[in-house]
């Protein structure tokens, strides 16, 4: 989490708060567990998006000119819900209700009025939807930019490549796909499960403009988001660590979906606060 501009430092602080929120949510999830690892890997990505990049107003959430963000990897709910709370879409207290019966966040429904643009969860679907939104924005002359977050394991899905192909074909330069390259899917190392190899080169060969960056550096992410090219869709390969910020979760496949005990919670919290290791 390198330094850089004041803006970046501010976003790094936001990311720290979100990581603490994510731990609170993981604890609140109780014995059922939650998607901890893949949420912690994309905290900075979401902090930069909601803290700086996305043009949207929680007071006018359905503004047709807003940017759209869809997590195609919905396994980042512990990162996205805190980001929406940070942005002011709902009170922070509500984030702990993300699994409550009858709660408006439960099961990740589509509720654009609180920033949930798409009811995701099934991998390989949302990039196509983003293409429809990007086509609509371009045709209607709206300034909206469409951002889709994908997991690297999700890149195994064939439908993702159908979408990648068509975004380039339509020259959608108002579309950004961020790939959370944490190198772990549920069963382990992505290169052992089903090798993804050089995703940046693959997407370049599909005529996307590709930026690669440290996905935990808010400064590097800010630069990556700004690095766009006319006429081409934009891919950001964000190199990340699954479970980032908590020593006993980092790079551990079993933490893809896992229960967080009270003791683990307290240790994790101390680590995020930089109090102990």
């Amino acid at each position: 989490m390198s330094g850089g501009s004041e803006k970046a430092l501010h976003l790094t602080e936001m990311a720290r708060r979100m990581r603490l929120d994510a731990l609170d949510m993981a604890l609140a999830a109780g014995g059922g567990g939650s998607h901890v690892g893949g949420s912690l890997s994309c905290i900075e990505i979401l902090a930069v998006l909601y803290g700086e990049v996305l043009r949207m107003d929680p007071k006018n959430p359905l503004d047709v000119n807003r940017d759209r963000f869809i997590p195609s990897k919905n396994h980042c709910v512990l990162a996205h819900i805190p980001a929406l709370a940070e942005a002011g879409f709902f009170p922070r207290e509500e984030i702990l209700e993300f699994q409550k019966n009858g709660g408006r966040l439960t099961g990740y429904p589509r509720r654009p009025e609180i920033g949930l643009e798409y009811s995701g969860g099934s991998l390989g679907m949302a990039l196509s939807v983003g293409i429809g939104m990007a086509l609509a924005a371009r045709e209607q002359g709206r300034p909206s930019r469409i951002y889709i977050l994908l997991g690297d394991g999700e890149m195994n899905e064939g439908s993702v490549w159908e979408a990648i192909q068509s975004a380039a074909h339509y020259g959608l330069d108002n579309l950004t796909a961020i790939i959370d390259r944490n190198r772990l899917s549920y069963d382990g190392d992505t290169e052992e499960v089903m090798g993804l190899d050089d995703l940046g080169a693959k997407m370049e060969s599909f005529r996307w403009h590709v930026s690669q960056c440290d996905g935990h550096s808010t400064q590097a992410l800010l630069e990556a988001f700004a690095d766009q090219q006319a006429g081409r869709p934009h891919a950001i390969i964000a190199e990340t660590v699954k479970g980032k910020g908590v020593s006993f979760i980092e790079n551990r496949p079993e933490w893809h979906h896992h229960r967080l005990s009270q003791e683990e919670y307290e240790q994790a919290r101390r680590e995020v606060l930089g109090e102990a290791l």
Partner: protein, 325 residues
């Protein structure tokens, strides 16, 4: 749009698909803003060239990528478009079913799916291009309206209606390059209401799609054999017409469902699900593909294997009626 007998004859020669994309879609594009027609590389096959040339801004060919097509359609719909998306019925209802489930059923995107060559219209192409389970899959999804027109005119009317309502629709197009005429002149298409096409006293045939004209011929032949057989066109599979069914099950002594679809999960099942809630109903006979794939060939050859030609429908019904008597 005017529905004259001359037009009806011409549309019959175009088939359901040709009429929907050659007649209804240009009309819809002409009278509505924010319309899109998406295809997965079936512009020529579907008879969309005229539309594509005249309304290039309202047309999108996404290539042979059906799952992506449904997603793109949903994204456009979320931002205010009324989107028609079409390919072979099987590639919508089977290959892209999950995209349909999430985007249309769950999120209720305003997308109108047009599944062409449903049933066994591509009879010689083989099972891959048939859709004999599409109703079962799509019908299981909440929030979708499921339409299954009986002829080209009804296909045009179904599309026009779908364009003007907000919400997801699946239109199941039967038949190929031509389609027998069921409605010789204009009529009121009322979604959700079954249509009595032939009155009768003893047996009720409830049918849909291409099997409507086949059943009408069968009913005429049965009349000659002294069996009075009513024929109902169930052009809306979902929501099912409960009132209409209640009346039929109260009035007749035998009810037969006829569909160019597996008997598992299709029209017959939809009828039976409601019938099961009614007391003291007559027997229901299911005609359709009996949980088996048939050998490819001409469409009539395929139907013969399943017992779906008019002559076979007659024999089935006569045999079942004699059991009743």
């Amino acid at each position: 749009m005017k529905y004259t007998p001359a037009k009806i004859k011409m549309w019959a020669r175009m088939g359901q698909r040709g009429a929907l994309f050659g007649v209804a879609m240009p009309d819809i594009a002409e009278r509505k803003d924010h319309v899109k027609l998406l295809t997965a590389d079936l512009t020529l096959l579907s008879g969309m060239e005229r539309y594509a040339k005249k309304y290039p801004d309202k047309f999108l060919n996404v290539g042979i990528a059906e799952q992506n097509m449904i997603g793109v359609a949903a994204g456009l719909a979320m931002d205010g478009y009324c989107v028609f998306a079409s390919t072979y019925a099987s590639f919508i209802a089977v290959r892209s079913l999950e995209q349909v489930r999430q985007n249309l059923a769950h999120m209720r995107c305003n997308v109108k799916l047009v599944g062409s060559s449903a049933g066994t219209a591509s009879a010689k192409s083989g099972i891959s291009h048939w859709a004999t389970e599409d109703l079962a899959f799509i019908r299981a999804l909440p929030n979708l309206t499921v339409l299954s027109p009986a002829d080209s005119l009804e296909a045009v009317k179904a599309a026009e209606w779908a364009a003007d309502m907000e919400g997801p629709v699946y239109i199941r197009l039967s038949g190929g390059l031509s389609c027998p005429i069921v409605y010789k002149e204009d009529y009121d298409f009322v979604p959700g209401k079954l249509v009595e096409l032939r009155a009768g006293e003893e047996v009720a045939v409830i049918t849909t799609g291409l099997m409507v004209s086949e059943s009408l011929q069968a009913a005429a032949l049965l009349e000659e054999r002294g069996i009075s057989c009513a024929v109902y066109n169930m052009h809306t599979i979902k929501p099912i017409d409960k009132e209409g069914l209640r009346e039929i099950f109260a009035r007749f002594r035998l009810v037969v469902t006829v569909e160019e679809h597996m008997v598992t999960g299709g029209l017959g099942s939809a009828v039976a699900e409601f019938k099961a809630t009614l007391p003291n109903t007559p027997r229901q006979v299911f005609l359709g593909f009996q949980d088996a794939f048939c050998e490819a060939g001409t469409q009539r050859y395929v139907w013969e294997q399943a017992g779906l030609t008019d002559a076979q429908i007659v024999e089935h019904i006569q045999k079942e009626w004699e059991r009743e008597a």
